[in-house]
């Protein structure tokens, strides 16, 4: 567990519009946001917005650790994987959504991918992506099922399906 130092919210004097991808790209490309990140020495930035069409939040997914597509650490000479340093530090959250969206997107910024329902083929999108993690702690035919949820699970059924 790494302690997090959460700063007080600061205004980002830009307006965002459109769907989640459009708003994310507008925020990510805003020089004002980059300046705020640098001046505050922030490792991660959560951009709160509203009226996102359709969705509740977004975080970059290039380097998510996923249950079916393991992400490999590509370390540099210093042992650090810095592939996401320029674009994997920001998440977008619609303030009109459940409070746990922020935690969910932070989970992605820490590298967590979506939890996938058993038997599903798609790695992390939509209806199959926010299921409870499920483990059989005793092999069949006993089939005692243990469910648990993670922050990248659908904690309050706020996701599609």
């Amino acid at each position: 567990m790494v302690p997090a130092n959460v700063s007080s919210p600061v205004p980002l004097n830009i307006s965002l519009s459109g769907d989640v991808i459009q708003q994310y790209e507008q925020a990510e490309g805003a020089q004002a946001l980059i300046d705020l990140r640098n001046s505050n020495g922030a490792d991660l930035v959560i951009a709160f917005t509203s009226n996102v069409i359709g969705d509740c939040g977004m975080a970059p997914n290039e380097y998510w650790i996923n249950s079916t597509i393991p992400t490999v650490l590509l370390a540099n000479a210093q042992g650090l994987d810095l592939r996401g340093k320029d674009d994997s530090y920001i998440a977008l959250v619609d303030v009109g959504c459940s409070v746990d969206v922020t935690a969910h997107e932070l989970g992605h910024l820490f590298g967590a991918g979506h939890v996938m329902a058993p038997g599903e083929s798609r790695p992390y999108l939509f209806d199959d992506s926010h299921a409870d993690a499920q483990f059989f702690n005793i092999p069949p035919p006993i089939n005692i099922l243990v469910n648990y949820r993670t922050i990248v699970s659908d904690t309050e059924a706020e996701c599609a399906n």
Binding site: P3, P9, P11, S50, M58, C97, C159
Partner: protein, 51 residues
Amino acid sequence: MKRNLMFTIFLLFNSTTLWALDQHIKILPVYTSTAGSGTQVMKIMGAPRLL
């Protein structure tokens, strides 16, 4: 013996220093002009998605 002890202390100090570098992650919340608008509409549970 003394040299080994000093070396051990040196390693301990170094590893502690390296660990300290990763002690805190700073998270900066920012809110856009849009987020403060009065036209905000609470989303219907079940419809929105998380990407």
